[in-house]
């Protein structure tokens, strides 16, 4: 989705569909509202004093108080503007192809990080504390494949819904890339297996079966590509000892809970 030729982030492609544009929860801005409240009390106090003592103050004092009051109000506006830029220009975008994290730190520091949605390994949501629980906001942690830095969507509203949607999009992206054969990890795995001498049809079928139904049994996991979505499956399989392996070879299946 591109509105009037303006992209939501620099590398957005024309066929990229934006599912979420998330900003931090308004509670995150409360510190600036509190500062504004303090400033307002001070400025109202000065204005009240100025009006109450109209005619009794010397000219220089009156001018000084007028200027001081004006400076306080303008400083209040400037602080609020700074806070708003910091708060409102932090944006998390979820598209059908990637996750984008845009962070604005002050006026002259802006970071944009991207993550292909296929590279997502695990997504979890955390809501802790009184206000977060009451107002339904929290953090979403997105673990990535490899050594990439994990993504954190901080203080976003409805984190559980967002994390579930990211998982759904991830699975959809995996399924789509498998259908058109563009998943590079599957390709690489298949090439490796071919080098080992397996039949191409066998490998392709096994990879397809597993990706379409990634967490059925440990036995199915053997010898085929393991999608990185199902970390439970990978961990369980890696922990299987010799005796379990023997049982598995005999045909006993061990269920793995799908995450």
């Amino acid at each position: 989705m591109v509105i009037e030729g303006k992209k939501y982030f620099p590398t957005q492609t024309e066929d990229e569909e934006i599912f979420f544009l998330i900003r931090r929860h308004w509670f995150d801005y409360m510190i600036f509202v509190f500062v504004a409240f303090l400033f307002l009390i001070l400025t109202i106090g000065i204005a009240w004093y100025l009006i109450a003592n109209q005619g009794n103050l010397s000219q220089i004092t009156a001018v000084f108080l007028v200027i001081a009051d004006s400076v306080l109000v303008l400083l209040l506006l400037a602080v609020e503007l700074y806070g708003f830029v910091n708060h409102y220009l932090d944006v998390y975008i979820v598209t059908n192809q990637r996750l984008v994290e845009i962070t604005q730190n002050g006026f002259f520091n802006r970071d944009i990080s991207e993550l292909q949605i296929r590279q997502v390994q695990d997504v979890s949501a955390h809501v802790d504390g009184f206000f977060r629980t009451l107002l339904h906001f929290g953090d979403v942690f997105i673990q990535t494949a490899g050594e990439r830095e994990n993504f954190i969507f901080s203080n976003i509203p409805h984190p559980y819904t967002v994390s579930k949607q990211i998982i759904d999009l991830h699975e959809m992206a995996l399924a789509n890339s498998e259908e058109d054969g563009s998943n590079p990890e599957v390709k690489k795995y298949n090439e490796n297996e071919l080098e080992k001498g397996l039949e191409i049809e066998e490998v392709e079928q096994a990879a397809k079966d597993l990706i379409n139904n990634p967490s059925k049994t440990v036995r199915q996991v053997q010898g085929v590509y393991i999608p990185k979505t199902n970390t439970t499956a990978i961990k369980s399989f890696s922990k299987t000892d010799d005796s379990q392996q023997h049982e598995l070879e005999e045909g006993k299946e061990e269920k793995i809970t799908d995450k």
Partner: protein
């Protein structure tokens, strides 16, 4: 003389404030999206700031010459 110094200091503050406001508004305009709160905030900020500055200038004139 002292009032002149006060007014000159205020003028310097206004210049700094103007630069700061322009930078902030530029960021909101540059990185905001269609239909979001950035444009209303720029408008609100500009209107309130201008009103405060005009009222202050009028009050200074009133306190200096009008009373």
């Amino acid at each position: 003389m002292t009032i002149t110094i006060l007014v000159a200091a205020y003028a310097l503050f206004l210049i700094a404030f103007l630069i700061f406001s322009l930078i902030g508004s530029y960021h909101l305009r540059r990185f905001g999206y269609a239909g979001d709160l950035t444009k209303p905030v720029i408008l609100f900020y500009t209107v309130i700031s201008t009103a405060v500055i005009i009222v202050t200038i009028l009050a200074i004139i009133f306190e200096s010459y009008g009373a």
